[in-house]
């Protein structure tokens, strides 16, 4: 193993919690999320020669993961095996505190968004990535990023208001 390879392994390992969090948000499901992280990590290591030292490793892997997820969505549509959004936030456990309920409500609402909207929310709001890096991950111009993000937020806000009305 080369010096670079050893470094990239350690750096990727350190990114795992962040990758899992983003994957959880976009796949709506723990198992799918971890599968996606695994696919992305393996692809990244297989193509580690494509990563340019000095550029952001995290952006690069998030991009690989986003692309892997889009591939997965397409193949699922072909197989007609898309998850029902209702699966989102199913592992409730025995924690019924208000904060927990709110987290579940938000996860559920995010699960109802379109894939494009869920991915941009996943990058900017779940991961906290700056716009510029999120645009790089998505391979879109900044203007497209901000308008897509604004629409995604609007949709999410709408879903949360609907939920609140239903509960009330």
């Amino acid at each position: 193993m080369t010096f670079n390879a050893a470094t990239i392994h350690a750096d990727i390992a350190a990114l795992l919690p962040r990758l899992r969090r983003f994957a959880r948000a976009i796949t709506r499901n723990r198992e799918d999320g971890d599968d996606l992280v695994q696919v992305a990590v393996e692809r990244a290591l297989n193509r580690s020669e494509q990563w340019e030292a000095g550029t952001r490793l995290d952006s690069w892997i998030f991009r690989i993961m986003k692309n892997a997820w889009i591939d997965e969505i397409r193949s699922r549509v072909r197989r007609d095996q898309l998850f029902a959004p209702e699966e989102a936030g199913e592992h409730v456990g025995d924690n019924f505190t208000e904060a927990h309920q709110q987290r579940m409500a938000i996860q559920k609402a995010i699960g109802l968004l379109s894939d494009d909207h869920r991915i941009v929310i996943g990058l900017v709001l779940v991961d906290g990535m700056p716009y510029k890096e999120a645009a790089e991950v998505l391979e879109i111009p900044m203007g497209t990023l901000t308008s897509r993000l604004a629409r995604a937020r609007e949709a999410l806000q709408g879903l949360l208001s609907d939920q609140a009305r239903t509960v009330a």
Partner: protein
């Protein structure tokens, strides 16, 4: 003062420049509706962030840790020549040209930007026009860097570099096209440096005399400009203003 919802969102996300941020803050104090909109964006941001926060505290499954540790790099290394990269490159080591965004233009890129052969006779350190950091992109140096930073296209100097158009790129940086006696290219400001995403040898269409800026800019450079530009090129007044603020964006 009114702001678009996108601007208020960008404020909540901490993405605005200082001036616009202060304007939004002033508007928030004067107009409760604006303050309420901003607070809604902020609340959504923090609620979404908190909704997934606990994932970070979960133990990472063994299978993921294992795949990050092993992957298939070792396997690849065994079938492919080792890409051992010494910490400091040997001087004669060939640069890695890898700008994915210019993939289509790669064929026209000049590989190797060389001191001396460029016919530069500028002041300062003109021995190198540009150089490649270890595994990094090409960056302007010497007379080229000086010209990019100081020279205005509207006021041609008698130095070795002629500036073409200056414009705001889609990624928010300022870019400038340039020509020397034998090369033409595009440079974009990044931090305190000029990164050069494209540079071509134009010696075959020029015999040392400078052409009018933009008149015969090689297609590769024009294509690079088209790919990046937002809006139109800066006019002389705007160019001067941006030059005075160090080629950094201030709205």
């Amino acid at each position: 003062m009114s702001f678009s919802d996108e601007t208020l969102m960008a404020y909540a996300d901490g993405e605005l420049d200082d001036i616009t941020r202060h304007e939004v803050e002033l508007a928030m104090r004067l107009n409760p509706d604006i303050a309420a909109k901003v607070n809604r964006h902020k609340a959504l941001r923090s609620n979404v962030f908190n909704a997934f926060g606990p994932v970070l505290d979960e133990e990472v499954p063994q299978r993921l840790q294992a795949s990050a540790r092993s992957g298939k790099v070792v396997h690849l290394d065994s079938v492919r020549p080792l890409r051992a990269q010494p910490p400091a490159p040997a001087p004669e080591r060939k640069p890695r040209w890898s700008w994915p965004e210019w993939g289509a233009l790669a064929a026209t890129l000049v590989v190797g930007v060389l001191a001396g052969s460029l016919g530069l006779r500028g002041s300062g350190d003109a021995s190198a026009l540009a150089l490649i950091d270890h595994d990094g992109p090409l960056r302007a140096r010497g007379a080229l860097a000086d010209a990019l930073t100081q020279q205005l296209a509207s006021v041609p100097g008698d130095g070795p570099v002629r500036l073409g158009v200056s414009f705001l790129a889609k990624d928010g940086s300022y870019c400038r096209s340039f020509m020397t006696a034998r090369t033409a290219g595009l440079a974009c400001r990044e931090g305190n440096e000029w990164k050069i995403p494209v540079m071509v040898d134009s010696a075959d269409v020029s015999t040392g005399a400078y052409r009018q800026a933009g008149a015969q800019m090689p297609a590769a450079v024009l294509g690079a400009i088209d790919e990046r530009i937002t809006g139109t090129a800066l006019d002389a007044h705007a160019e001067k203003a941006i030059q005075q603020q160090g080629w950094q964006r201030k709205e």
